[in-house]
């Protein structure tokens, strides 16, 4: 089972993702509430996968993806996007994110997306 880092500035969203991934048997090893923290936590924890919100204070999710990619280009990151963020998702994917999930989260699609990127990462 995968070790997951959840990055989102809303504790609401963090909790929701945690519940979904834990129900699937994954372990949430850390949480980050902004882009800087996401990069720091990634360095500390080296998780199998990161769920990364795009809009966060201090450092956006996209910049955090770039930051993590500089450290480890094989890092596995899934963007959390919302309605109307198509161009930002594109940019994140170009920066190295593997895939994206769309808010509001549907547990099935979150799990399916994680399974997909983790399989590829193996």
């Amino acid at each position: 089972m995968a070790r997951v880092l959840v990055a989102d500035d809303a504790s609401f969203m963090r909790q929701m993702i945690r519940e979904i991934v834990e129900a699937e048997g994954h372990e949430v090893v850390g949480e980050a509430s902004d882009g800087d923290e996401a990069v720091e936590e990634w360095k500390r924890l080296h998780p199998d996968v990161v769920t990364m919100d795009i809009v966060m204070p201090r450092r956006s999710g996209i910049d955090a993806v770039k930051g993590i990619m500089e450290i480890d280009a094989t890092a596995c990151i899934v963007m959390c996007s919302a309605l109307g963020q198509e161009t930002l998702v594109q940019e994140a994917l170009q920066a190295g994110a593997r895939d994206f999930i769309v808010k509001p989260f549907k547990p099935d699609s979150v799990i399916a997306t994680l399974a997909k990127v983790l399989e590829k990462a193996e």
Binding site: S11, P57, S60, E91, K103, P104
Partner: protein, 545 residues
């Protein structure tokens, strides 16, 4: 998914976000290009949208989404456009706030305001200010979307606010149960102390142990009471926005400064101060601040200024609301007080300006003088005063014609632990807050004069009404001795002497709320249990007289 749990988080977070958006929009009013504020509104709207969508609150989702999009346009345009843009953003915020409240009350957000959604979605109009639409220059003026847009890609949000320490949210009822348990511990400690003192064989171990325990319990009490306190910011924060709304209606311009919002007050007091503060602020803006032209004619800045300042003073907090407006027309107040029969015409002429100003707190003086749509609603100045008095506080006013008015609310810092004066009446002992006692006077029972059912005593060359405490609480008093204790207090601005048989000393008590059964007894404001286990009621002098 546990919906109730997520709904609770949603309500907490979105309420905070709404407050942050409000603060940021006010910043944008001062500086329409404030990038940090624009970014914050964008992010908060985005966050609310995400939560609302997850919970199926479509009405909130759509408004938050439009607000977010709108902020994107604002960001690209380099700032909030002059004209109606800011007001539109505020309306979007209010709509979200109302729907969040609706979720809190009913579990559902209700319907979104379709007209507002459409307006938020409509493109930014190029709106040349009326009178300046010079056709020759029009082409240079209308900002084309994309014209000055920055290079594609999101502006990376840069916020350098220090990260606050982690916090834990506690349900208020949990907190209250905890505090009431701490109160019980204090009472029990006092009881154990009383019993141990009654023991004839002095046990040093026991008394030392009790000393230590009392110190620790005292510490526990202080810490516990701190938990109950909340920064004033919570009730001061909405004021600038309220002022803005009133100013728009009244056709005046105003800016509100908040000072001392970091001071903390007991939460139960804080909640009750909110209405009086809003009322006083509305008064200041609606009746105080003059229209810009009138201000300019007097050599004042066109934008009026209201300063809301909180200061700590010993055991109380003083919150003053000062405006630089027209001041109160004291002659009008004097006339009105005479018309209303509040003061005798002969007396009215002799009142000092300060005394006249204080008359605005009398029922019927302030409310009817100008019933404008905004200030005429809700509480009047008399209600402000009675609210403050019921909190053991008071309200003061100072005004100067043409210069402005300052109203000050004085509130005790905590109501849960009070110093009280214990008064004996018959077999009963009652407590009144020491803060309400001017002094205690011992007088010859014979010097109390009667006029019909009313009793008076001459004190400081002033006739002061005497109220028999025993009669007031239906406690038969013994035959009066040659000496009577008079406790001087003030009730609604009047000096009053309460007569008691015994004065049983002062004490620090932990005030427990009244049991439900006694809630109807207005004269009783709380209950405590003394060291010997006797229950003692705390009297509210306002209700006794």
């Amino acid at each position: 998914m546990d919906l109730a749990k997520y709904r609770t988080i949603f309500l907490e977070e979105s309420t905070e976000h709404v407050a942050e958006i409000s603060r940021a929009l006010l910043d944008l009013e001062k500086d329409p290009a404030d990038a940090e504020a624009i970014d914050l509104v964008f992010r908060m709207a985005h966050s609310i949208k995400g939560m609302a969508a997850s919970l199926g609150y479509d009405a909130i989702t759509v408004v938050a989404h439009r607000l977010e999009d709108r902020m994107q346009l604002v960001r690209e345009g380099g700032g909030v456009a002059p004209g109606g843009e800011l007001s539109l953003l505020f309306r979007g915020l209010s709509a979200i706030e109302e729907m969040v409240e609706a979720v809190r009350e009913t579990g559902e957000p209700g319907a979104a305001d379709a007209a507002l959604v459409a307006e938020l979605a409509s493109g930014r109009e190029a709106e040349p200010a009326p009178g300046r639409a010079d056709p020759g220059q029009a082409e240079k003026k209308s900002p084309e979307p994309g014209d000055a847009a920055p290079a594609s890609g999101p502006a990376a949000p840069v916020l350098e606010a220090p990260r606050p320490p982690p916090t834990v949210r506690v349900n208020t009822s949990t907190l209250d149960r905890f505090l009431s348990t701490v109160g019980e511990v204090i009472l029990n400690t006092n009881q154990v102390r009383t019993v141990s003192q009654a023991e004839t064989s002095q046990n040093t171990g026991l008394s030392e142990g009790l000393d230590r325990m009392e110190r620790v319990v005292g510490e526990l009490q202080r810490r516990a009471l701190e938990l109950r306190t909340t920064p004033l910011l919570r009730i001061l924060e909405p004021l600038p926005r309220a002022a803005r709304d009133v100013a728009q209606h009244a056709g005046v311009r105003v800016e509100v400064a908040l000072r001392g919002a970091e001071l903390e007050l007991d939460r139960s007091i804080l909640d009750r101060l909110s209405d009086p503060l809003v009322h006083l602020l509305r008064n200041a803006v609606d009746h105080g601040i003059e229209p810009p032209e009138a201000r300019a004619a007097q050599g004042k800045p066109e934008v009026g200024r209201v300063v809301v300042e909180a200061r700590r003073e010993k055991d109380s907090i003083r919150i003053s609301i000062s405006d630089d407006g027209s001041g109160i027309d004291l002659e009008a107040v004097r006339r009105r007080a005479v018309e209303r029969g509040v003061v005798h015409p002969d007396l009215a002429a002799d009142l000092t300006p300060a005394q006249v100003a204080a008359l605005v707190f009398e029922p019927g003086i302030s409310t009817a003088e100008a019933i404008s749509e905004i200030s005429g609603r809700g509480v009047g100045m008399d209600a402000v005063r009675s609210t403050l008095e019921s909190l053991g506080g008071s309200v003061e006013i100072a005004t100067e014609q043409g210069r402005g008015t300052t109203t000050t609310l004085v509130v005790p810092i905590t109501a849960a632990v009070q110093r009280v004066l214990l008064l004996g009446v018959g077999a009963e002992t009652v407590a009144i807050p020491i803060s309400r006692v001017e002094r205690i006077e011992e007088c010859l029972t014979a010097s109390i004069e009667y006029s019909g059912a009313d009793a008076f005593v001459l004190l400081d060359e002033e006739l002061v009404p005497v109220l028999d405490l025993g009669a007031r609480i239906s406690q038969p008093s013994a035959e009066p001795g040659p000496l009577t204790h008079l406790v001087l207090t003030e009730v609604r601005g009047e000096r009053v002497a309460l007569s008691a048989e015994r004065v049983a000393g002062q004490q620090q008590i932990y005030v427990k709320p009244l049991p439900d059964l006694l809630r109807g007894a207005r004269a009783l404001s709380g209950l405590t249990i003394l060291g010997d286990g006797r229950p003692i009621f705390l009297l509210d002098p306002n209700q006794v007289a």
